[in-house]
Amino acid sequence: MVARVQGSYVKPLAHVAPRALRTALWRDLVVLVLFVTVLVLAGSAARQMVSPLTAAAQPEISLSPSVLPGYALRTTMRMLAALLASLLFTFVYATIAAKSRRAEMVLIPLLDVLQSVPVLGYLSFTVVFFVSLFPARALGPELAAIFAIFTSQAWNMAFSFFQSLRTVPQDLDEASRSFRFSAWQRFWRLEVPFAMPGLLWNTMMSMSGGWFFVVASEAISVGTLQIALPGVGSYVARAIAERDLAAVGWAILAMTITILIYDQLLFRPLVAWGDKFRYEQTAAQTVPRSLLLDLIRRGTLVRAAGRPIGLALHTAARARLALPLQSWLSGAARAVSESRAADVAWFAGIILGLAYVTWTLAQYAGAALSLADLSEAARDGAVTLLRVVVLIVIATLIWVPIGVAVGLRPRVAEKVQPLAQFLAAFPANLLFPVAVFLIVRFDLAPTIWLSPLMILGTQWYILFNVIAGATAFPSDFREAAASFRIPGWHWWRDVMLPGIFPYYVTGAITASGGAWNASIVSEAVSWGSTRLSGGGLGAYIAQMTEAGDYPRIALGIAVMSVLVVAMNRLIWRPLYAYAERRTRLD
């Protein structure tokens, strides 16, 4: 029985009452146990997070493997908190940007900039602020860590939601207006459901990056401020300091299990549930499944318990909730009557604001920085840029052929794809110590051998996007190519590469963005007291952070942001546009 339920989708057997009842009870029990466990764990972790820091001495990070489950829980809680914050931010920020043309003029470019700032760059600046908000409480540094994760997910979620709001199908928009939905009803009935698939996908992508940053942000040292929040990240930091390779192994194991559980309990159910929000009217070929969701959906007790909650949510979404902003928000077609004079005033305001900020920055930077600093940062930036480009090229040469080979074999792809996605989600920085240990051990040149660490975690995006592309490649094209016996190199050039190109570009964009972010933790590493630096902008920012030299941290971050934006504008966007234009099938 158990095996059958786990094996695949089992249709409810309504007419076989006793058996159905037994199944239902069994399901109810599992869900109940899971529910209570999650509740208790979340409660205890939350209590610790707000607890006072005893006598300025922070809890010592232990290296005993027995503390790891607790640490993993704390790490996971940070992820969840950041996820909720990102969702809230997304709903508010993207909605305002989509509903007001003037707000859009400011908010969307701002989002573009925020997105290109390296995530760990935010950390150096915000940690002091958050610590001062809640002095002598663990909450300050906790919030700083959560904020770092937030910055790794919020921007692209907001972008996705904004895009969805702007592309609501015209017929659904007209139907909603003809039913005279209030803004609140429209939001929950039309806009959120329509945006859901994109939002879920982006949340999942962000989440993968999130693990990386949660690990990186738990053990922070900015100048004299040293913080180690109980968590897997701090555990690894301590293990590095003590040169304890076994502890690193335990941490890797703990993280693996955590990610797998997180995936099963949160993301799979979400994705399976989110499938109904697909806008296409055709039935999907493969329906995402989730064991937990099946349990919840089919357990009678759970369903009965869930019904009032569902009803309450439903009623809340149906409520008209007329707000004073009503007329402004409910308009899908945005008011055309916005006057020109007001536009000009608005523009002038933006430009004045920008000018003021630039001037202030120039003042601040001019006092602390010289031209030599700029040239040093630029030189380091060039080194990191070279690394990113070379690594993307190498990863492409390795993973594109493998991805195609895997993607064309559905059976293999089915097994490899989840693995590739898991590897993309796994925080690669946990593996750094192993690599560093080897580099130290065999006395390798850090300038060269530290470089691959940058792309260790993000290369998988290339792999799984190429696999997805090859899997989606229409089989009639493949058959046509086979029947014309198109030979080797021509097959790649004329058939396969154009077919997977849009997927590859998507993967490569993510991989390159991730590599820039990772450079801050991968270009300068340590093993016990041994310090290795590969040079480059990441190392520059890391060193300045350690020294607490804020003007130079800012300079490094600014240079990196400029490089990331330039790379996006000059390489990735044109490639993406080209892929869209040339390889679309319709």
Binding site: P169, D171, L172, E174, A175, R177, S178, F179, R180, F181, S182, Q185, R189, L190, P193, M196, K276, F277, R278, Y279, E280, Q281, T282, A283, L311, H314, T315, R318, R320
Partner: protein
């Protein structure tokens, strides 16, 4: 229009609508349209695509604000979607994430009913429209016909006084459309609907005659009402009745007369360069010629017979018929399309011969293609950018028409091997004579 105002449920007076093109220039789609939807009638809006009939329906529903004129609903100005007006959409516009029942309940969201009452009313509408048993299905599980039934149930659940239908059957296959149409008419005739008036947009002539008490013919550029045709036949109507046929023919002859008149007028002006070419492909033209020359037509056919033989709607048939008329392979006259001598030869010719004949007629009767050939011939490299002709055409035509005309001329010219076109470089080039 002399419609007595007192019984008009929705009254549109002097409506004009100008959209803004992305380039900023104005695009007029409706000009000075008067329309009164009377109590107790089904009013049809019939016209070809681009005549602004869907826009007119949206204006009547308060979904779009007209740039000029006034909309009155039950004696008061209409400022937006109002209670008592419901819309059925061509694309169904169902929320894919809601079940059938939830979709119908959503129609009542604005009324602040308790959920239980709303579900009860939704259930009644679902029963009425023949969807019982599908309450918990999601739209993607349903066939097109069932989806549109949900669309109807969702509109009717609000007990609307006015029902606006935007080509409600055109996304369905012929049989399904017929079933749904008949079911709707039955409910209407038996007075089972709370609705007092229906406005239906269509480009299917028979559908209009089958359903409506009155049909307004809309003509394009910009949209205006070209004719009003009352249909006093009793329900249920029979498509084979002589009277039914007579009204269908009347509508076709109005449409034909307008088409022929505008073709002639355009040809006379600006040496023919101002002539917008109908969006017909060479394959469609060849197909229609073959259909016409074969039995049962034997060279000439009534338009309505041709339309039903090909299950074509006005939008499918007229562009091809106009193209044949323009190239003098056939003649549009009254309610018939008749092959010319050249058309008969074309019907029996092989591919090379067809191409030669097509080329001859293209050069003789479509001044634009002759013009393109001349320009290409005069240039040293026999090449010219497409944009050059686009700009020239825009002196006489709207941008949309200019683009379409050039696209059609390019396709025809390529088929006739008059010139070649490279989409990457946007260059037209002369085909060297063999």
């Amino acid at each position: 229009m002399l419609a007595p105002l007192h019984n008009a449920v929705v009254d549109l007076a002097g409506i004009s609508m100008v959209f803004k093109r992305p380039s900023g220039e104005p695009l007029p789609v409706l000009e000075n349209v008067d329309l009164a939807l009377r109590d107790g009638e089904i009013l049809g809006l019939l016209g070809r695509s681009g005549s602004g009939k869907s826009t007119l329906l949206r204006i009547a529903g308060g979904l779009i604000k007209p740039t000029g004129g006034s909309v009155t609903y039950r004696g008061a100005p209409l400022t937006g979607p109002a209670e008592g007006i419901a819309v059925v959409f061509q694309t169904f516009a169902l929320f894919p994430w809601l079940t059938v029942l939830q979709n119908v309940v959503a129609g009542l969201d604005a009324l602040r009913l308790p959920l239980a009452l709303a579900e009860q009313r939704a259930q009644a509408a679902i029963d009425l429209i023949g969807l019982d048993g599908f309450q918990s299905a999601y739209p993607r599980e349903l066939s097109g016909g069932m989806r549109q039934r949900v669309g109807f149930a969702r509109a009717l659940v609000t007990e609307p006084t006015v029902l606006l239908m935007d080509e409600p059957f055109s996304a369905l296959d012929v049989l399904t459309a017929e079933t749904l149409r008949t079911d709707f008419l039955d409910l209407w005739i038996e007075r089972k609907l709370p609705t007092r008036s229906v406005l239906i947009v269509t480009h299917n002539v028979e559908e209009a005659v089958l359903m409506c008490d009155r049909v307004l013919l809309l003509a394009s550029n910009p949209g205006h009402i070209a004719a009003e045709i009352p249909i006093a036949l009793p329900h249920p109507r029979n498509r084979l009745d002589a009277e039914f046929r007579a009204i269908v023919d009347e509508i076709y002859s109005v449409l034909t007369a307008r088409a022929v008149a505008s073709l002639g007028a355009a040809k006379a002006a600006h040496g023919g360069l101002a002539q917008a070419l109908p969006a017909a492909t060479v394959n469609q033209m060849n197909g229609l010629i073959e259909k016409l020359s074969a039995p049962p037509f034997g060279g000439a056919a009534e338009l309505h017979a041709l339309a039903s033989a090909l299950s074509f709607e006005v939008d499918d048939l007229f562009p091809v018929a106009e193209a044949l008329h323009m190239l003098e392979f056939a003649e549009l006259k009254g309610t018939t399309l008749k092959l010319s001598a050249a058309g008969r030869i074309l019907a029996d010719a092989d591919i090379d011969h067809r191409k030669r004949l097509f080329k001859e007629h293209l050069l003789r009767f479509v001044p634009l293609t002759a013009h393109i050939c001349r320009v290409l011939g005069e240039r040293a490299d026999h090449r010219a950018p497409r944009v050059r002709f686009e700009i020239e055409l825009e002196d006489h035509l709207t941008r949309h028409d200019a683009m379409q005309t050039l696209r059609v001329a390019t396709a025809w010219g390529r088929y006739a091997e008059l010139f070649a076109y490279d989409d990457k470089t946007g260059m037209l080039s002369a085909v060297p004579a063999e």
